[in-house]
């Protein structure tokens, strides 16, 4: 039986991500763990995350999971969600600047302040709620997901990959930002697929079925 490991470093809503994966991948075991050996034994890994980036990186390091993520990213399908996606990049502006895992080149930036949209209405930060994701390139995780589908977001910082080839999908809010990123066997979603109803579950099902190969 194949296994999906959710990396538990004490931050993030693992409960709902776990049950969503169990629902869409009934033929796999979903394991929530902070034990490196258990996690490296999994076929796919998910890096969740909410909260601040400094606390996130500190906890990953304290539990000696940062090297595990980098190691896992060499071959297994790896999915970062929300803050778990942001730490895939090299560095975040949050908390005064924090180096991250560096699996995808580029930075994580704060939405410009004070943001305003074209009609002069004041835009709020965090970017909180449902917004559309435009699929900028084909990828197995998009299978059966209509272009410009709605997903649930909640974040104040956004990923800015250096290489446009690493952007899978984009969303408009203040600016056009990377809502989904990918590089080889690594994917990341800024939005919460586990909070995005049917399309979110479809994405998770696609990840659970993905072998890490890209077209």
């Amino acid at each position: 039986m194949e296994k999906i490991g959710i990396i538990d470093y004490g931050m993030g809503n693992l409960h709902s991500l776990g049950k969503s994966l169990e629902r869409v991948a009934a033929d796999q075991r979903v394991i929530i763990s902070y034990d490196p050996e258990t996690l490296l034994d999994c076929d796919r890994l998910v890096l969740p995350g909410v909260g601040g980036v400094r606390a996130c990186m500190d906890e990953l390091r304290r539990l000696e999971l940062n090297d595990l993520v980098i190691e896992a990213a060499r071959k297994r399908p790896l999915l970062g969600v929300c803050l778990g996606m942001q730490v895939l990049l090299e560095r975040s502006e949050e908390n005064g600047g924090v180096p991250a895992l560096g699996l995808i080149q580029g930075d994580v930036l704060r939405f410009p302040d004070p943001p305003a949209d074209t009609e002069g209405e004041r835009l709020k930060v965090p970017h909180m709620g449902w917004n559309r994701v435009h699929q900028t390139q084909a990828h197995p995780v998009w299978n059966g997901v209509p272009d410009d589908s709605w997903f649930y977001f909640v974040h104040s910082y956004y990923a800015s990959p250096q290489n446009p080839a690493h952007v899978l999908g984009s969303t408009e809010y203040v600016t056009t930002f990377a809502a989904a990123v990918a590089r080889d066997n690594v994917v990341g979603f800024q939005f919460h697929p586990e909070k995005s109803q049917a399309v979110g579950l479809q994405l998770l099902a696609n990840f659970a079925a993905w072998d890490g190969e890209t077209p």
Binding site: K19, L83, G129, R132, H192
Partner: protein, 256 residues
Amino acid sequence: MLAKRVIPCLDINAGRVVKGVKFEDLRDAGDPVEVARRYDLQGADELVFLDITASSDDRPTLFKTVEAVAEAIYIPLTVGGGVRSCADVRALLSAGADKVSINTAAVLRPDLVTEAGDRYGVQCIVVAIDAKRVSKKSQPPRWEIFTHGGRKPTGLDAIEWAALMVQKGAGELLVTSMDRDGTKAGYDVELLHAISRSVPVPVIASGGVGTLEHLAQGFSQGGADAVLAASIFHGGTYTVGEAKQYLSSQGVHVRL
């Protein structure tokens, strides 16, 4: 473009959804899991649970309810009521809440908002503001903060309080007009507008919805980012889908 949100609110007492006017006259309105699932299917953008259980002995019942509901829905869930400490925030998040709403405890100790935001991320910390108009008709409008379900005045100016809460790290504000709550007379849009334009974080309008037009006013006149309503949905007067169709017809950008 980010959609405006429609959020059904469920009052929870001892593991059941209840309905009542101004916290009195509680009547049973169903099983939380069934009600939550129904709203998810109708296209609700989020759900809010307010625990109105008076006794703190019933906390374990609340956690069980939150767990069961989080298991059954695929939209974000905010839980509030009786949150006193970081430990309470943590317990609700572990039970499956995506956001936790803090009310009275923030008034008693504003730094709780900072501590909870630092630890769990500001995006999951909602500060609930219960405001009552205290100015006379001829005076410029002024609102004050009330706690304990609107019974206890604090003397705090609502607009200043909203700004302070954001400064302390609130990721979102849930603004309830205690004058309108349960009246079906519509939101206090002046209050909403005053707060919404003065803070950089999203504002949820609450208190007083009786018609679909009221929901639209929350956005158009109140400048809110989300509208919260209870009775128009629980009574079966409208589905969430009907509400969103109406809002869309009024030019409000919603997720359909």
